[in-house]
Each structure stands twice: as C-alpha cells, then as structure tokens.
C-alpha cells in the first residue's frame, strides 16, 4: 500500500456534478482530489454525448457535452484540484469521527475529512459480448482493456469492433502480435478515417486479417482460448486461431463498488437529506445522478444546486473552527481573491 494522500475532501466521480463540487468547495477553502474510472473528465457528458447539445443549463441556451466539460474545467482552475483518472474507488472506511480512508483499485489511499460521492449512474464499464460461455475466459484470454502490450506478444490476437478503440489497438498491437485478426460486423468503420486507412493498408499488404461478421462461438479450455467462430452476414461460419481476444463494444454504466459502501440503497440510488445532501452516514455526501430524494430529477442543474448545499455542510467537517459567512462572488473581495480575479 502506498503512503496515504491527505486531503480535505475526496470526490468520487469527475462528471459535471463532481467538477462543479470542486468550485463550491473551493470557495470555502476546501481542497479536493477527484477520482474517476474513466481516463477523462466529464462523466456522461464526455463519454456518452460529447457532441450533442444541452439546452437546459441556466443562462446557457446551448452547449455540447464536451463544451460543458471544458467550461467547468475552466471555472474550477483557480482551485487546483488533483485528478486521479483511470482509477476506481473500491472502499471507504470510517477511521474516526473526523477521518475517512478511501482506496482505489490502482492502490492509491486517501485520508480525508469528508467524501463526496458524485458517481452518477455508476462506474463506466466495458460492455460484455453475449457469446455463450465467455465468462471463464474473461481476464485470462478475453480482455476488455490493454494494460501491457507485451502480454500480447507473439499471440494470435482477435480484436472485435469498429470504433476508435478497436482500430487504435489494432494498429498498436499488429506489430507485436503473431497474427492479428480484426472482426467487425460491417465493412465500414466509425473510427478516425486516417486509422481506417492504415488498417486497410496493413490488410492489403497481407500483414493482418480483416473479417466481416460477428463472433458466434469460442473454443478453448481452462480459460485459455484456442479459436473463435465468425459468422458472416450470409450465415457462413469461418474459424480463426485465437490465443487472446479483445472485444470493444463501448461502455455501459454499472453501479459497481457503491453497492458495497453500506448504504440503504433505493433502486441503486443513495438516499440523502435535501438540506445538506449528506447520506445516512455523517461526513459522506452524495450529489448528482447517484442520489435520490422526494422530487429528484436527474439533471445537471439539480446536481449543481446539490453541490452548493453540500459544500456548506462539508465545511463543518473540514473547518469546524471557522464560522461560515454567506457571500456573493460579485461583491466579496475574499471570494474574488480565491478566484484569482482580485
């Protein structure tokens, strides 16, 4: 276990609501670390609909998911939050009245005075293809992410999918693999055109194979794949030698570790008090899509409001000795100093 990172507040989830929480906490002199399983910030806005318009952010008639994420990052810059991306928070332990220990699957440990759970619809996890009998191979010879390229050296590799991840890994792993086969359901690729071109050139040069169809059956034993059957659109089935398979079918949100944190969940959501957005456990807050209360609406604007009220309460835990004075950013020189505008 690495040495604990000490901070005021750990925010679990860097979606729009987690990001805005940095702002609200920052105004109250509360320092934050954010953890997200995605390799980027912005949560659903960045992962599911970066190019799509949002029309109901107050005073912003139109902004894209990507635009909103960028704007939030700009807004929270003065507070210098620390991001830990590509890591999933697995446990939260109550150490004593004033301290929690938060750990990630990457081995990071935080000691913090309060925890803000802004986990949205849960952690983004890869979609699993519904191929019969795939489970025993998972994490042995079927992988949903590449941790070390070297693990695929001199292997017969099957990559499945037609998006950027499938193409990127095809290009990266082709030189390493013994033989690489890319399988996609149609002869048209959504991924970046330049990469499609490179992949097609490798196929033309005979350096890799491209098969149009869908994987319908796996062969192997004891978690080790030996082959896969691919069904073409006309129903014909062909077989390829496979030592390892990498399916890329995008991500879906699964509740994940939130289920194990001891909350009395209601339909996979954490009940909160609407005056403070504190959960049933003092010092643990839940804001954004992950919480529930009478009248809850899963909207970004609701999450922003929740972040503001949460910060007021979190202040009690982080700076118990200080009294909170209500101030406007428009007129308070104190707040403006924190924002770096004075």
């Amino acid at each position: 276990m690495s040495e604990a990172i000490k901070t005021d507040v750990v925010i679990i989830g860097a979606g729009p609501v987690g990001l805005f929480a940095v702002f609200q906490l920052g105004l109250l002199d509360i320092k934050t670390h954010l953890v997200d399983i995605l390799d980027k910030v912005g949560g659903q806005c960045a992962e599911l609909y970066p190019e799509k318009p949002i029309y109901d952010i107050p005073a912003v008639p139109l902004i894209t998911g990507h635009g909103l994420t960028e704007a939030l990052m700009e807004q929270i810059k003065p507070f210098h939050p620390t991001f830990h991306l590509g890591e999933m928070v697995t446990t939260i332990e109550h150490l004593d009245a004033q301290n929690f220990r938060v750990t990630t699957d990457g081995g990071k440990v935080f000691e913090t005075k309060a925890v803000v759970i802004a986990a949205g619809g849960g952690s983004f996890q890869p979609k699993r293809p519904p191929i019969a009998g795939i489970e025993p191979y998972e994490n042995k010879s079927v992988h949903y992410a590449v941790r070390k390229m070297d693990a695929f050296r001199d292997k017969n590799l099957l990559i499945v999918g037609g998006g950027d991840s499938a193409l990127d890994w095809t290009l990266n792993l082709q030189p390493v693999a013994k033989r690489l086969t890319l399988v996609h359901r149609r002869d048209d690729f959504r991924g970046a055109p330049a990469n499609v071109g490179k992949m097609r050139a490798l196929v033309a040069a005979g350096s890799m194979d491209l098969k149009i169809g869908q994987v319908c059956e796996l062969e192997g034993a004891g978690g080790q794949l030996t082959g896969a059957h691919i069904k073409a659109a006309d129903g014909t089935i062909s077989r390829v030698e496979v030592d390892a398979m990498l399916p890329f079918f995008g991500l879906t949100m699964k509740l994940g570790p939130v289920a194990n944190w001891g909350f009395d969940l209601k339909d996979e959501l954490i009940p909160v008090d609407t005056g403070t957005f504190e959960t049933s456990k003092p010092g643990l807050f839940a804001i954004g899509d992950i919480n529930t209360y009478p009248g809850k609406m899963k909207l970004i604007l609701s999450g922003f409001h929740e972040a503001a009220l949460m910060a007021q309460r979190a202040h009690h835990y982080v700076h118990p000795e200080k009294r909170l004075v209500f101030q406007y950013t428009t007129s308070s020189t104190n707040l403006q100093k924190k924002l770096g505008v004075k």
């Binding site: 979609k127 699993r128 293809p129 519904p130 149609r186 959504r190 079918f249 879906t252």
Partner: protein
C-alpha cells in the same frame, strides 16, 4: 392509433397502441417491454434499445441513418433488419408493425 407488436426473446408477446410521432422505444417503455433498456433515453448514444424488425416490415421501416448504423456497432447479434427503437418514429404506415427484442442489450 397504430398497433405495434413486440415479441420478446422468451416468446412473450406485447401488442400495444403507439402514439403517432412518438418512437418505438417510447412505446415499449410506456408498456413495460423491459427487454428494451434505453439507457440514454433515446438520444442514439447507448445502443441498448435494439429491435430486430420483422422481415416483412423491414422495407416499410427503412434502413438506419449513418449515425444509427455507427451506434449499432455497439450492439450485439446485429441482423440486417436490426434497428435502434428510439430512432423509429411511429407513423400511420407502421400500423401492425412486428419487432423482436434481443435477450441482451449489453447490460
């Protein structure tokens, strides 16, 4: 009102009324056809609302748009008549439509 029949993987049949102008996905949700997940609420970003359109009906319903076709890459066991239910608008012409829903929508 046009009628739509959903035939689920396990054989359960739902024949329901659909509002003109709504989508086949919304029709499914209003009538508790739970094999249509629709995680993204109809914005063509999740591919968890897949239906296989009955072959007779496929020409009437028509092919997916380019954006929808891209999203179908994130679905499983895609067939030539597969569509995303949130991208099919209900019209008078779809009265009697039959669609099959898959066993698994990716979650």
């Amino acid at each position: 009102m046009p009628k739509i029949t959903f035939i689920e993987h396990d054989g359960t049949v739902h024949t329901v009324e659909a509002e003109i102008g709504s989508t086949v996905m919304e029709t499914a949700q209003r009538n508790d056809v739970t094999s249509i997940v629709a995680e993204c609420g109809g914005s063509c970003t999740c591919a968890t609302c897949v239906v296989h359109v009955d072959e007779k009906w496929s020409p009437v319903v028509g092919p997916p748009s380019a954006e929808e076709e891209d999203m179908l890459d994130f679905a499983f066991e895609v067939k030539p008549t597969s569509r995303l239910a949130c991208q099919i608008k209900v019209t008078e012409a779809l009265d009697g439509l039959v669609v099959y829903t898959p066993a698994y929508q990716g979650r």
